[in-house]
Homo-oligomer: 249 residues x 2
Amino acid sequence: MSGIGAGEHRSDARPASAFAGLGALRAADINSVRAFWRSVERYPAGGNVCAGRSAVGKRVIIVSGWACETRILPDGRRQIFSFLLPGDAIDLARELDLGCRALVALTRLETVDAGVLMGADGGEAVSKAIQVAIQQREDRLFDHMVRIGRLTAKERVLNLLLELYDRLDAVGLVKEGAFRIPLTQEVFADALGLSIVHINRTLQQLRREGLLTLKSGTVTLHHRDRLSAFACYQTPGSGNGPLLDELVA
Amino acid sequence: MSGIGAGEHRSDARPASAFAGLGALRAADINSVRAFWRSVERYPAGGNVCAGRSAVGKRVIIVSGWACETRILPDGRRQIFSFLLPGDAIDLARELDLGCRALVALTRLETVDAGVLMGADGGEAVSKAIQVAIQQREDRLFDHMVRIGRLTAKERVLNLLLELYDRLDAVGLVKEGAFRIPLTQEVFADALGLSIVHINRTLQQLRREGLLTLKSGTVTLHHRDRLSAFACYQTPGSGNGPLLDELVA
DNA sequence: CGAGACTTTGACCGTAGTCAATTTATGTGG
DNA sequence: CCACATAAATTGACTACGGTCAAAGTCTCG
């Protein structure tokens, strides 16, 4: 860890004061860290994420919080396309063009400018990691399509939870097999193409069968291997790019 | 039309002989056309499309025929992610990596190397057009996700047909409001996340209601405007890139 | 003309949706 | 810390969209 990791900084500590004990840092480093902090954007839960000050073509990394890509039909039906977690890269440019796709914060959200990260340490490594992250995002779109197109309700729920487990695990957000999941059942429903009531019943059933524990926003999946087989879940190819992992909470 | 258009050339005419009456062409032009023909790849219907001779990182344009991106689950269920039509660009590199996504020819298929096209006329124009085409492909993935996630069977069928209409129209493959659609109902079903039987019934119903005509592989959509509204179909943003259109049959 | 692929139809079933009411968090101001 | 307002989760009763199974009908092509 480079020490830049922006874990649970609920505090409003300003960068300047935070540097008190860091006299050993070279001026360049300090400037990097300053730039990092300056580039942090915060969005409230439920809000539409849009390019902040310097709008266009911006690439951004999520440091904390969840977001989703979504579309709302004229009659109110909603489809959620993907979830964006800490460590994920967002191409703000192409996201919110037409009214056809929106980027919505599901929790309080913090992002940093990707360009700043690149400046901070060489650039190629981070740049490549972002490339990989963007590729993985597209791969996940296909997984999600299979989910809503060909899996049953039970399979859909489990399959999604298994994906979230792996993604959160990759950035260290799984503790003792459990992770926090800040999603209402309505969000779940809109992601999986099911009704909210049916999501609820499906979760109940999974609980009764002892396949998962879900209480006050924390999930534990039991027998992940068995669940994976049942839900047609395929762990993404191993040799990918966990380079970004070091940069997130 | 640049005259390169590769319409209905079922013949096996070799380039050399085809140049007989073209003495006016500069040597460079002739070389371009030769390169174009040399780069044509053909795939049989039902076959897996994979990079031909010079495999890796290759970008290719469909000249004639239909293909689709698909995944088959361990238990045989299949999901079709997208249809690829004449004029569409394919990134062979990222397509057929893992067993998680396959590119399948739905008809006899002909492609040309994108690089060759770029060499042929400047490059920036074609290159930009391909960029646009790739972006549009991603946009369509989201449309498709909405289809299978949130639309009813009737809406799904109509919505997809409306998209195909627009895409084929853009490359001149719609004649008098009708177009050829070389898809079995099974393919339809696997694309739309429905059973083959239900696709059949839905089509019957649409026919009875006079919303479409579908006979021996030719579709006509009646009252496209009304259908669009009913099926939540949104014509893609106008000012896009029909640059590639001149290059296809 | 026969084989195989594709389409069509009927009967029946089951997963998932809808509507509506109730219970349980979650939060907010006093 | 409690009362109240609101969002979220649950449950029941009922419906319906879409799936499954099976058989018959069509179309194509060698």
